[in-house]
Symmetry: C3
Amino acid sequence: MSWIYFVDLFGTLVFSISGVITAIHKKFDLVGTLVIGFVTAIGGGTIRDLLIGRTPVGWLNDRNYFIAILGGYIVAYLFRARILGLRRSMFLFDTIGIGLFTVLGIDVSLSYGLNIEICLLMGVISACFGGVLRDVLTNEIPLIFRKEIYASACLIGGVVYLVLLQYIENENVAIVGSIVTVIVIRYLSVKNSWSLNFRFPS
Amino acid sequence: MSWIYFVDLFGTLVFSISGVITAIHKKFDLVGTLVIGFVTAIGGGTIRDLLIGRTPVGWLNDRNYFIAILGGYIVAYLFRARILGLRRSMFLFDTIGIGLFTVLGIDVSLSYGLNIEICLLMGVISACFGGVLRDVLTNEIPLIFRKEIYASACLIGGVVYLVLLQYIENENVAIVGSIVTVIVIRYLSVKNSWSLNFRFPS
Amino acid sequence: MSWIYFVDLFGTLVFSISGVITAIHKKFDLVGTLVIGFVTAIGGGTIRDLLIGRTPVGWLNDRNYFIAILGGYIVAYLFRARILGLRRSMFLFDTIGIGLFTVLGIDVSLSYGLNIEICLLMGVISACFGGVLRDVLTNEIPLIFRKEIYASACLIGGVVYLVLLQYIENENVAIVGSIVTVIVIRYLSVKNSWSLNFRFPS
């Protein structure tokens, strides 16, 4: 499982960077940006853990998540200008992150014996609600509700994961397949300006 | 208890509809509206469960709540135009819902041996905080804090429930008495444009 | 420990006053102001308790916190005009409150065997997130992220507490030393218009 653990920490670091950059743009101070980095990185998994009763929540007992978040904070400040130029890489890392967070959220929920549709929901919550909390705390309408195929990509990635797990029975293959699915969906959606804001005519 | 269970599911469905309609008005996409429907429907009970340590929270282990929320989501999209015309019925269903959610919240809290005033508070939280979360996520100041006798109706309905339970010792009568109280208060308040925005002169 | 308990209740009352006053300014109704008073007073400790798995959360089983919050609510309405004139005293009480909440948050977390940096974080959360929730519910960008050395003062006060506890081994001295530190930092920061909004040139 060790490669998963490292990708998880890496996803945490990337989410922390994304939160800190957002907060810098909002002119938050040094402590405020740190808080937003934290919340973005661990918010989704924390809500999942609270809902399923897994307390103390995971990151409290593993110093490495703390270090990953601090690392993201420092990287965000040091390479702020350059990170904006690396938008494409950040997008990729972020998408790998949400794909993996979805899968890990599903796994944790499965291990708690929850129904399959609840596990899927928990996967999406794990991946998306860090960003939702970031947007609530910076007084924005959460982005994922409006402008991006974000939650939908996680949902489909989660379904792919469960299907692969069922029929191929190799967790690594299922994880990679799921993450690739999320990447492809988000890549196509951005390239083609898709969005799910389908609305019935009023 | 089975009629209570069905009314509870029905309240969940109505709350889901109310959340989805709000989110459609805010131009959320298909996933965003679903999330808001979910949060509106189970937010209050979830916060109550987290506070009193009842995890995994109730709806995680009962598929019917999931189905009720999805049902509300579909109904909201299919009959969106007509629902706005049914404002009066929606108001009635919504009011029955918050009345019942108040009573159920009090019951759960009583079964955890909490003080009577905390049980009342938990009842109000169960009924109102789904709507509060909906408003926070759609970047509005929560409605119940400003424009409606909403939380107050729940509070009074909760007191009526506890009094009836004490003196009549018939739970069904106490529940119905409490819900009728909530309906009457809200009906009178809307009819007479009451509101509790009593303020001392500055 | 009894003086700590009374200062804790007093801090709860002061936080309740601050929340109610904020909500009155936002033209919330009588129930809305009460909810904001509650959330401001117990929000930080509640989030801490949820994260570390200490449920039911502390204030549910101790009627005195309920009374302290109601007391703050009544005081806020009765002496509203005068409280604004007592800004200096309120600032002092509020600062004593966050200092003590930081220390109590650290203590609770230490008793759960958490890592030292997590305990510090929990101290800051205990002291600051009541105010964060207040600002989110009143649709403001949380103040502590932008305009005041607030979280930073708690962080430094927390470090002072841990150092004193380690080397002097007298809890009362450590608590007082920590609170005095928080007061001095906030006093100096307001007097000199410090703020941590240090930003790299764009």
